[in-house]
C-alpha cells in the first residue's frame, strides 16, 4: 500500500482526534498487520468502493472508548451506553470522510459506506494486494487504533490508463 493512500488517513485522524478530544495526538506505532485482525474492543468498520477499495477499522479498548465518547459527548457515559458505540462509529466516519475528501481532490473517486459496528473478534488475514496497515494514535484518552486495508481497483486503474493513452 503506497504512502499516498495512507498519509491522508493519518492527517485526518490526527486532526479529527485533536479537535474532538481537545488534545494533542501522536502516532505511537505504525506497522504492517502480520496476523489476522483481532478486535481490541469497540470497533467501527467503514467500507470504501471505487478507484480504491477496502475497509478501515477504528478500534478502541472498551475503557478508552468510554473516555473518548464521554469527552466528545461532553458528559460521562456508562460503558453499556449505546452512545459509546455510536460515537466511535461517527469518529470513524469523520476521519474517513476527511481522508477521502483529500484523496478525491487528488483524483481518486470513491463511495464511502455508512459506518457499522464491527462485532466479530477476528478478521481475515490481509492478502498480497490488500495489505493492512495498523496505526496507533496516542491521545489523552488512550490509544486509538486504525487498521487500513485498501487496494487499487485494477479495472478502474486500467480504464484510467486507457483514458490517459498509456
Amino acid at each position: 500500500m503506497k504512502m499516498e493512500l495512507i498519509q491522508p488517513f493519518i492527517n485526518a485522524a490526527d486532526a479529527v482526534l485533536a479537535q474532538g478530544l481537545q488534545c494533542c495526538t501522536s502516532i505511537a506505532n505504525l506497522s504492517m498487520e502480520e496476523e489476522g485482525y483481532r478486535r481490541k474492543g469497540v470497533a467501527a468498520l467503514v467500507w470504501l468502493t471505487g478507484d480504491i477499495e477496502g475497509r478501515i477499522i477504528f478500534d478502541l479498548a472498551p475503557e478508552t472508548a468510554v473516555r473518548v465518547a464521554s469527552r466528545m459527548a461532553g458528559a460521562e457515559l456508562p460503558e453499556s451506553d449505546e452512545l459509546v458505540r455510536e460515537t466511535i462509529c461517527e469518529l470513524a466516519n469523520q476521519v474517513i470522510g476527511n481522508a477521502v475528501t483529500t484523496l478525491n481532490d487528488e483524483g481518486f473517486h470513491f463511495r464511502v459506506h455508512p459506518p457499522a459496528l464491527h462485532t466479530s473478534d477476528e478478521g481475515s488475514r490481509s492478502s498480497e494486494d490488500t495489505e493492512a496497515l495498523v496505526m496507533c494514535f496516542e491521545t489523552a484518552s488512550g490509544n486509538v487504533f486504525m487498521n487500513v486495508a485498501l487496494r487499487y481497483n485494477r479495472r478502474r486503474q486500467a480504464d484510467r490508463a486507457v483514458a490517459a493513452g498509456e
Partner: protein, 146 residues
C-alpha cells in the same frame, strides 16, 4: 459549550427551528447542543433521507442540517426532494465527505451551504446567519457571548 448571541427569526422574534438529519445519534446530539448555544430550537430529528422528507412536511423547520452518507436515502437526494417540494427550504449539508463533486451536486439540488465535519460551532453559527439572511436577526440578549 460556548454561548453565542441568539439568532432569532426576524418576522416574529421566535427561536429558529431546525430539523437535524443524520444517521448518527452522536452527531444529532452534538448538533442539537450547538443549536441550543445559538438560541435555536430542534423542531425534529431524522436518521435518514426518507424520514427527513416526512419530518420536513410535518414540522416546517426554518433550517435543515443534512448529513450526506446515510442508509435508505442519502442526504443529497433528500435535499433535492425537499427543495423540489418546498423551494423556500434552507438546507445546509453537514458531512465529513466534503469533496468538490458532492458539494456541487448538493448545491445543484438546492442546498444553500456546506459545512464539513467535525463541525466547529463558530463556523456553523456563521453559516446559519448567512443562510437566514434578512430572515434572521442576532439579538443582543444579556449574557450572550461571541
Amino acid at each position: 459549550m460556548e454561548q453565542f448571541a441568539p439568532v432569532r427569526r426576524s418576522k416574529d422574534g421566535q427561536p429558529v427551528r431546525y430539523l437535524i438529519v443524520d444517521d448518527s445519534v452522536f452527531a444529532r446530539r452534538n448538533l442539537a447542543r450547538m443549536i441550543e448555544s445559538f438560541g435555536g430550537q430542534v423542531a425534529s430529528e431524522a436518521g435518514d433521507g426518507l424520514a427527513a422528507i416526512t419530518e420536513y412536511d410535518r414540522t416546517d423547520p426554518d433550517i435543515v442540517l443534512m448529513d450526506i452518507t446515510m442508509p435508505q436515502m442519502e442526504g443529497i437526494e433528500a435535499a433535492g426532494k425537499i427543495v423540489q417540494q418546498h423551494p423556500e427550504a434552507r438546507v445546509v449539508m453537514v458531512s465529513s465527505v466534503g469533496y468538490q463533486e458532492n458539494i456541487v451536486a448538493a448545491l445543484q439540488r438546492g442546498a444553500r451551504h456546506f459545512v464539513q465535519k467535525p463541525v466547529k460551532p463558530e463556523v456553523l453559527y456563521e453559516v446559519i446567519k448567512y443562510v437566514l439572511g434578512d430572515e434572521g436577526s442576532v439579538s443582543n440578549a444579556a449574557g450572550a457571548g461571541a
